[in-house]
Structures are given as structure tokens and as C-alpha cells.
């Protein structure tokens, strides 16, 4: 009994390890301008060849592991996008490609756009760009699979608080035209 469960555990581990080596991709454009569509199509051409990573484009969400979402979440296609997501078998990933899917894009405040795709689906990976270059898309997939390291990191700059001379109305002495500064070094 235990040897059978051990072998089942080993088989499960093997299947999970193979997940990163053969990602089947379903492409869902929910209302974008098709710029990112063309870049995704470029990734499947011989020059950038996505198939060498094992990525294959499938026609049915039931066969897919990864859903590539482009275009913002629109009111008209919201339900269809959610149904396609529910039709995918677990384990599944969602990649948001392009500025529209990551944050609403330049159309974020128009009448039919609900917002970024993460208002409808849990997004696992963001690939910003307008449209992202095919190399950027391949880089995003490579980071998700684990081949390369992530390069984006938040940048923050706080101006160091130096004791700079400040002129404050309280430092003004005198009246009317004979107003003169008496500089006081205060921080």
C-alpha cells in the first residue's frame, strides 16, 4: 500500500515539474486594439519561435494552462472572459499582456471599460508595454517559468533633508519698503 502511494506521489511530482516545460496557451482578447494580438502572433513566428519552450497555441480553453489576456475588461465581454477562465482546468495561470490589461490602458476612463483585467480574474503575471515587444513577451514567460530573473523593482527617492536656508515670513523685519531679511538658520 505504501509503495503504491509513494509511486503516486512521485508521479504527481513529475507531472508538476513538467508543467513549466509545456505550457499550452489560450489567447483571449477582450476588447483591445489588436496591437498586442499582433505582437503575440509575432512570438509564434519562426524568428522568435515560442515553440522551443514547449508553448503551443490551443483553440479551446479546456486544453489550456495559461490564458493570455489582452485588452481591458469591457462591459460587453466581461461575462465571456469569466466563463473562459472557469472552463480552464486547474492548475492555471493568467498573464495580462499590454498596458490595457495591466491597468486599463489609455482607455481607462471611457464608457465601456471596466478597468484592468484584474477586476474580473486573478492575474498572475503582468507584461506591460504598448504593445510589448515580442522579446518582452518571451522575457515575461521566461520569468514566469523560472529561466531568468526578474528585473523590475520599485524605485524611491527621498530628498535628503539638508539644512537649507529657508526664507520664512516670520523672518521679515521692518515695514513697507524697508523690508529686510534677517536670515535665521532654521531647518
Amino acid at each position: 500500500m505504501t509503495s503504491k502511494s509513494i509511486s503516486i506521489e512521485m508521479l504527481k511530482n513529475l507531472c508538476q515539474k513538467m508543467f513549466g516545460r509545456s505550457l499550452w496557451v489560450y489567447h483571449a482578447n477582450s476588447g483591445g486594439c489588436n496591437g498586442c494580438d499582433i505582437e503575440v502572433l509575432n512570438v509564434l513566428t519562426p524568428f522568435y519561435d515560442a515553440e522551443r519552450f514547449g508553448i503551443k497555441l490551443v483553440g479551446s480553453p479546456r486544453h489550456a494552462d495559461v490564458m493570455l489576456c489582452q485588452g481591458p475588461a469591457m462591459r460587453a465581454t466581461a461575462k465571456a472572459l469569466q466563463r473562459a477562465y472557469e472552463a480552464m482546468p486547474a492548475p492555471k495561470l493568467v498573464f495580462a499582456i499590454g498596458s490595457c490589461a495591466c491597468g486599463g490602458g489609455i482607455w481607462h476612463d471611457t464608457y465601456s471599460v471596466l478597468g484592468p483585467v484584474e477586476k474580473l480574474l486573478p492575474v498572475n503575471f503582468y507584461i506591460p508595454g504598448c504593445p510589448p515587444r515580442p522579446e518582452a513577451i518571451i522575457y515575461g514567460v521566461a520569468v514566469a517559468v523560472g529561466l531568468v530573473d526578474k528585473k523590475a523593482a520599485p524605485v524611491q527617492f527621498k530628498q535628503i533633508e539638508l539644512p537649507i536656508p529657508r526664507y520664512h515670513p516670520n523672518d521679515l523685519r521692518g515695514r513697507d519698503e524697508l523690508v529686510v531679511y534677517e536670515k535665521v538658520d532654521r531647518v
Binding site: C15, M18, F19, G59, R62, H63, A87, P89, A90
Partner: protein, 308 residues
């Protein structure tokens, strides 16, 4: 042959295991060669093994109209292909030649088409039904061609026994084997349709009907279906080689067996090159093509019955 029953079963099992182990490798070879013809790098040769393992690890969603029939169709399709492995001589004698004759082989091949029909009916969506109606039209035009080839072999050999009829017997006439040569040409032209590759893979057309009958399958069942498709390529190639390319079969056991599989790989390479350089035919164009081939095959049957 009076080989003991246990040896026959073991040989059949060996055949089946070899086909199961080799089928994803042939599919990988097909994808790699297609990629090279398209000037790109292509997936590694072991990619279909990774695909099948990944599909085994996914969740199994039962959906469609009749989930029970979904399960039945998947297991039936793989079972049909593997039972063909028990009947076709692959380098040595036919393993279970006492269990049936060539008509059983013809019916099993028709049954593998019916499995796709069951799978599409179980899904019940518009695309699946469209896919299976096209599959049925193709089958009606296509199965008679293979049946005629096998029956011509049986006519020349004089019996329906598997060993006699399936080992190059289409050429066994006095003088020039006209019917054999005509049938060789006909089957070469229609072989792509039997193994469901471009230009005749109308049922599983990904771009046109979203993979038709297979649309509702996910996870382990999809893995089994893909496995059945890959094995189908090997089994049909083996049948073609044993019918039409028998030269060198009389070599002693290890050499003859290796030579047989070398010929099968050659046929797989030919299928790949034709698949990579052609576009898919529409269903009406395909039916007209098969109707023409069927007429020529009938002519070959008539010639065979007169002894030519």
C-alpha cells in the same frame, strides 16, 4: 504457426508496449522536422512526453452532455489501437493470428473512427457536431479504400489469414502485379487521411473548428486521446509497411525486426514532409479527391479478381 498461446500473447504485449513507448517519440520527430522545414528551431524531441505528463497532472473536468460516454470513448479509442497492435505482423509473425482474420482488422479500423464520433457526441456542442459530421463523411469515402487493399491482398494470397494476407501479398501475381501497383499509388495519396494529418486533418482542425470533437476534454482524458492519436500514426504506418513494402522481411529475427521499424520511421518521415508543405483541404475538395481514388481502387479490385 503452432507457437504456444503464451508466446503469442507475450509477443502481442511486446508490440503494444513498443508502440506506446515509441509513439510520442515519433510525434516529437514530426514536430521537430516540421519546425526545421519552417526554418525555426522547434521543440526538443522529448516534448510530447512532457506534454502527456503535464496533461496527466491537470484537473479532470467532466463536462458536456453525457460524461459517461466521454470516458467510454477515450478508453475505447486507445483500446482499439492497441488491439490492432496484437493483430498486425510487425517484423515477425502476427501475434494473435488465431484470434481473427483480416476482416477483423478492417472493422477495428472503422471502430477507431467511431470513437471520434462518440467523443464528439458526448460533448454535444456545435463545433463537435460539425467535426464529427465531417469525420463521418471522410470515413464513408475512405474506409473502403483500405478495405479494398486488404481484400486484394487476401485474394492473391488465397486466404483471409493474417500472416498470409498481410505480408506483401498484393504483389503476388504472375507477371506484373498491376493491382498491387495501382493500390500502392492510391494508398500513398490517401495515407495522410488515415493518420489524420494535414492536408486531410479536417476533424481535428484547430483553427477552423477549435479542435472539434476533442473540445471538451481536459487533463488525463485528453492525454489518453492524444496518446491514441499518436499511436494511430504508428499502427497505420506498420500496416502500410507490412502490406506494401515487404522487401527484406525474410531476414532473421533481430535484423528483420529492426529493418521493419526503420521502414516505419521512413514512412513517418514522408508523412511529416507532406504535412509540413501542404495546406488543409476543405471537406468538399477532400471528398471529391477520395471519390476519385475509390473509383481507381475499385478498378484494381476488378483486376485482382481476374488474376492480374
Amino acid at each position: 504457426m503452432n507457437t504456444p498461446f503464451l508466446l503469442q500473447v507475450l509477443c502481442g504485449l511486446g508490440n503494444a508496449v513498443l508502440i506506446l513507448a515509441l509513439a510520442p517519440f515519433c510525434e516529437g520527430l514530426l514536430r521537430k522536422l516540421t519546425a526545421r522545414i519552417q526554418s525555426r528551431q522547434g521543440p526538443p524531441l522529448r516534448q510530447p512526453y512532457y506534454d502527456l505528463l503535464k496533461l496527466l497532472g491537470k484537473e479532470d473536468l467532466e463536462s458536456g452532455e453525457v460524461p459517461g460516454m466521454q470516458r467510454f470513448a477515450v478508453f475505447l479509442s486507445l483500446a482499439v489501437i492497441l488491439s490492432l497492435a496484437f493483430l498486425i505482423p510487425m517484423g515477425f509473425f502476427a501475434p494473435l493470428s488465431g484470434a481473427g482474420d483480416v476482416l477483423l482488422v478492417v472493422y477495428l479500423m472503422a471502430l477507431s473512427g467511431i470513437c471520434t464520433l462518440l467523443a464528439g457526441l458526448a460533448a454535444g456542442s456545435t463545433y463537435s457536431v460539425l467535426g464529427i459530421s465531417r469525420e463521418m463523411m471522410t470515413m464513408i469515402a475512405l474506409e473502403p479504400i483500405l478495405a479494398i487493399a486488404i481484400v486484394v491482398g487476401a485474394i492473391h494470397a488465397g486466404s483471409f489469414n493474417l500472416d498470409a494476407a498481410l505480408s506483401g501479398s498484393v504483389y503476388r501475381t504472375q507477371g506484373i502485379p498491376w493491382s498491387g501497383l495501382i493500390l500502392l499509388g492510391v494508398l500513398l495519396l490517401s495515407f495522410q487521411a488515415f493518420v489524420q494529418r494535414v492536408p486531410f486533418d479536417i476533424t481535428e482542425a484547430e483553427t477552423e473548428i477549435m479542435e472539434g470533437p476533442l473540445m471538451e476534454y481536459s487533463g488525463p482524458k485528453l492525454a489518453l486521446f492524444k496518446y491514441a492519436q499518436m499511436s494511430k500514426l504508428l499502427v497505420y504506418s506498420a500496416l502500410f509497411v507490412s502490406l506494401f513494402v515487404p522487401w527484406g522481411n525474410r531476414l532473421p529475427f533481430p535484423l528483420g525486426w529492426a529493418w521493419f521499424w526503420f521502414k516505419v520511421l521512413g514512412i513517418v518521415g514522408l508523412v511529416t514532409v507532406i504535412a509540413a508543405t501542404h495546406a488543409r483541404y476543405r471537406i468538399d475538395q477532400a471528398i471529391r479527391f477520395f471519390a476519385g481514388l475509390l473509383a481507381v481502387a475499385l478498378m484494381a479490385l476488378i483486376l485482382a479478381s481476374y488474376g492480374y
